[in-house]
C-alpha cells in the first residue's frame, strides 16, 4: 500500500526524525491560509500515489500566500501518471546546503532488509546506482539484531565527514529502521535528507510503501489508506477482493491466478491485440467474484471484447459459469465475450453456459485469438 508523503512524514516524526512542519490542503483557499500562517515562502507539493511529481509540475515554490493559492489551484485535480491529485502538502521552504539519500528496501537476493545511503541525494537513486555506484553504501540488516548502533554510525560517516552531522545521521538511521519495522514497511526513503544552511539535518521528502500483508495486524497503518487517491476501478476491485490493474488495450481479461493472468495478457499481445487489464479472481471459487469482475471490466469504455480464461484446479469451473450467468442476467453485456474454461467440473460448467446461450472453449490459444479478432473487428490475429 502506498501512503502519501505527509503521512510518511507523520510516521517519521513520531519516531523522532526531524521533518519540516507542513499542513495538507484540499482547496486553494486552504493552501493560502496555511501559507499565510507560516509567514514564509512555502513549497506546494502534490500528494499522489505516483513518482515523478516534480517533473510533472506537481511541486511548486510559492513566495507569497497568493502564489501558494495559485499553485494549489494548478496542482489539485491535475493528473499525474493517470491519477488525479486529491490534495497538496504546504510546507515552509528551507535553505539547503547539501542533499543526501537514505533508503531501506527489501532485498530479494540477500533475503534481508537493506539500507542504502548516498551523499548524492535529491536525484533518482537508480540513476546514482547506474552512474556513480561508488557513492552508494549498501548495508544488509540482520533481522535477528536489527540495525546495530555501530552499523548506523558507519552509515552516518559514509554520508558526512563532519562528526556532528555523521552522529546526527546515525541517529536518524536508527529511527528510520524503527519506523520501517514498526510500520510493516516494504520501502522507506528520505530523499533528500538535507543539511540546512544552519547545519541541521532535515528529512525534506519522505516516502513509505507498506507491505499489504502487514495491514491486517496494523489497523492504524491500514487506516492511512486514501481512497480518493486511488484509481476508481482498482478501488472497486480491491473492495471486491480482486486484484485488478488497468491497462490501455481493449481486450478485457478475467483469469484465475496471477501467473496465468499475466500469460493470458501476453498471449493477447502475441496474437496482435492489447489487454485492457490484469485481473485475477483468485484461487477459491465464488460466483460473486465473477459478477464483480464483470462489473469492473465493463466500466471501461475501451473494452471491445471480454475474455475469460479459467483453469479449474482448486477453482471450480461450474462456479465461474454460474457467476457469468448471474452477472449477465442482471446486466446484459454490450460487448462480445469469449469463455475458455477447463479442469474441475468442466462438463457441468459447459452445460450451465449452454443452457443460457453461451458457448465455451477449452483451448487457451483458440480463445485468445477469437477474443482479439472480436476486439479488433477482425483486423488482427
Amino acid at each position: 500500500m502506498n501512503i502519501h508523503e505527509y503521512q510518511a512524514k507523520d510516521i517519521f516524526r513520531r519516531y523522532g526524525i526531524p521533518v519540516p512542519p507542513g499542513d495538507v490542503a484540499t482547496t486553494p483557499d486552504e493552501a493560502e491560509r496555511i501559507a499565510r500562517a507560516y509567514g514564509t515562502g512555502v513549497v506546494v507539493k502534490a500528494q499522489v500515489y505516483a513518482g515523478g511529481r516534480g517533473k510533472a509540475g506537481g511541486v511548486k515554490l510559492a513566495r507569497t500566500p497568493a502564489d501558494a493559492r495559485a499553485a494549489a489551484l494548478q496542482i489539485i485535480g491535475m493528473q499525474i501518471k493517470g491519477l488525479t491529485v486529491p490534495k497538496v502538502l504546504v510546507t515552509p521552504a528551507a535553505d539547503i546546503a547539501s542533499e543526501a539519500y537514505a533508503g531501506i528496501i527489501v532485498d530479494r537476493g540477500s533475503k534481508r532488509a537493506v539500507f542504502m545511503v548516498s551523499p548524492a541525494g535529491g536525484i533518482d537513486i537508480e540513476e546514482v546506482a547506474a552512474t556513480m555506484p561508488e557513492k552508494i553504501m549498501r548495508l544488509p540488516v540482520d533481522p535477528r539484531y536489527g540495525l546495530l548502533p555501530f552499523e548506523a554510525t558507519r552509515l552516518g560517516f559514509f554520508l558526512y565527514k563532519n562528526p556532528k552531522l555523521a552522529r546526527d545521521a546515525a541517529k536518524i538511521m536508527r529511527q528510520m529502521w524503527q519506523a520501517f519495522v514498526g510500520s510493516g514497511g516494504s520501502l522507506a526513503e528520505i530523499n533528500p535528507l538535507a543539511v540546512t544552511t544552519g547545519g541541521d539535518l532535515l528529512a525534506l521528502d519522505a516516502k513509505m510503501v507498506i507491505d499489504d500483508n502487514e495491514l491486517d495486524r496494523r489497523p492504524d497503518i491500514a487506516a492511512l489508506r486514501d481512497e480518493t487517491a486511488e484509481n476508481p476501478s482498482e478501488l472497486a476491485a480491491r473492495r471486491a477482493n480482486l486484484t485488478f490493474i488497468k491497462l490501455d488495450g481493449n481486450v478485457g481479461c478475467v483469469v484465475n491466478g496471477a501467473g496465468l493472468a499475466m500469460a493470458t495478457m501476453d498471449l493477447v499481445k502475441y496474437y496482435g491485440g492489447e489487454p485492457a487489464n490484469f485481473l485475477d479472481i483468485g484461487g477459491s471459487s465464488n460466483p460473486e467474484k465473477v459478477v464483480n469482475a464483470l462489473k469492473i471490466i465493463t466500466r471501461d469504455p475501451n473494452v471491445k471484447a471480454i475474455l475469460f480464461n479459467i483453469f479449474g484446479g482448486i477453482t471450480r469451473t461450474d462456479d465461474v459459469a454460474n457467476g457469468i450467468v448471474a452477472a449477465t442476467r442482471d446486466a446484459p453485456l454490450d460487448v462480445p465475450m469469449v469463455i475458455r474454461l477447463t479442469g474441475t467440473n468442466e462438463e457441468i460448467a459447459v452445460q450451465i453456459l449452454q443452457q443460457h446461450g453461451f458457448s465455451a472453449m477449452t483451448d487457451m490459444d483458440d480463445a485468445v485469438q477469437k477474443a482479439v479478432r472480436l476486439a479488433t473487428g477482425g483486423k488482427a490475429a
Binding site: G51, P143, R144, G259, L260, M262, A263, L267, Y270
Partner: protein
C-alpha cells in the same frame, strides 16, 4: 526417481482442521500421499478422516509418527511461526502454501530454517507433486502423469496449464515444483535445477518464471555453467507495466529491473529454449527428449 518427495515422504499437515487444510489433506490422502499426522493446537487427540491422528504441536507429531515433511495451510499471521516450528521439530522439508505472509516475517524465517538444515518451499506456492507417488500441496493430481520432465515455476495456475498440456501431449513429469510468487521464499529456481540435474530419471526441465527480481537471470547462469540437461523456459508478464504488483507480491518491475525482456535475453544467452506461449513447451520439449 524424483526430487524432494518420494515414497518415503511422510507428511504432517499443519492446520489440518481448518477449511483449506482439511480439504487439501483429504485430496492428498486420496492421491495416495502418506499423510501421517495433522497439527492444530488445542485439537490434539482428535482423528482426521478416521485415519490421521491430530497433535497439538509439530514436535509431538514427529515423535509419534516420524513425519519428515510438513505442509502448512495456516492463516498468514501464524504462518511464520508454523514454518519455524516445523524446522525446530526437525522436519527436513517444509512446504508453505499460505499466501499473504508479511515479507519482514520471511526475513526472520529464512535464516531460522536454514540454520536448522531444513528445506523450505514457498510460501505462497502450490507445493509439489511426484506424479503417481506423492503430492504435497494443492496441485491437482489428475493433470499430471509420470514421466521424465522436471517442472519448476513461480506460479500456480500457469503451472497447471503447462503441465496439463504436457500430459495431454504424452509428456510425463518426474516432479513438478511451485516455488511461489513472493519476493522472499525458500527454495529457488537454482535449487530445483540442481536437483533435477542430479536426478537420473529427469531428462529435461520446464521452467516458468515471471517479472520481478533476478532469480531467473541467476537460474540462466546456472543452466549455462552447470547443467547438461536441456531446459525450456517461459517468462510471464511481458505486457506488465513497470511499478505495479501483478497479483503475486514478487511480480513487480522495480524501476527498470526485473522485466520479462531481460529475463528472456538471459535465457537465450544461456541456451535455454524459449517458449513464447505456454503451448510451445510441447514441441520444444519433444525436440529435446
Amino acid at each position: 526417481m524424483s526430487i524432494f518427495i518420494d515414497r518415503n515422504t511422510k507428511v504432517v499437515v499443519q492446520g489440518i482442521t481448518g477449511r483449506d487444510g482439511s480439504f487439501h489433506a483429504k485430496q492428498m490422502l486420496d492421491y495416495g500421499t502418506c499423510v501421517v499426522a495433522g497439527v492444530t493446537p488445542g485439537k490434539g487427540g482428535q482423528t482426521f478422516e478416521n485415519q490421521v491422528p491430530v497433535f497439538d504441536t509439530v514436535a509431538d507429531s514427529v515423535a509419534a509418527t516420524g513425519a519428515n515433511t510438513a505442509v502448512i495451510y495456516v492463516p498468514p499471521p501464524f504462518a511464520a511461526d508454523a514454518m519455524m516450528e516445523a524446522a525446530d521439530a526437525g522436519i527436513a522439508l517444509i512446504v508453505c502454501i499460505t499466501e499473504g505472509v508479511p515479507v519482514l516475517d520471511m526475513t526472520r524465517v529464512s535464516p531460522y530454517v536454514q540454520d536448522r538444515g531444513a528445506r523450505l518451499i514457498g510460501p505462497n506456492c502450490p507445493g509439489l507433486i511426484t506424479p503417481g507417488v506423492s503430492k504435497v500441496g494443492i496441485i491437482p493430481g489428475r493433470i499430471c502423469t509420470p514421466g521424465t520432465v522436471g517442472v519448476v515455476s513461480r506460479s500456480g495456475t500457469l503451472t497447471y496449464e503447462v503441465v496439463y498440456q504436457l500430459t495431454r501431449a504424452g509428456i510425463g513429469q518426474t516432479t513438478c515444483v511451485g516455488i511461489g510468487g513472493d519476493p522472499i521464499n525458500g527454495t529457488s529456481f537454482i535449487d530445483c535445477l540442481q536437483a533435477f540435474e542430479a536426478d537420473p530419471e529427469t531428462r529435461a526441465v520446464a521452467m516458468m518464471g515471471e517479472i520481478g527480481g533476478t532469480d531467473e537471470q541467476q537460474a540462466a547462469a546456472f543452466v549455462r555453467d552447470h547443467m547438461s540437461k536441456p531446459v525450456v523456459g517461459f517468462i510471464a508478464g511481458q505486457t506488465a507495466p513497470p511499478g505495479r504488483r501483478m497479483g503475486h507480491a514478487g511480480a513487480i518491475i522495480s524501476g527498470s529491473a526485473g522485466t520479462a525482456a531481460e529475463k528472456i535475453d538471459a535465457f537465450k544467452a544461456a541456451g535455454i529454449g524459449i517458449a513464447q506461449r505456454p503451448v510451445d513447451f510441447v514441441p520444444l520439449l519433444k525436440d529435446r527428449l
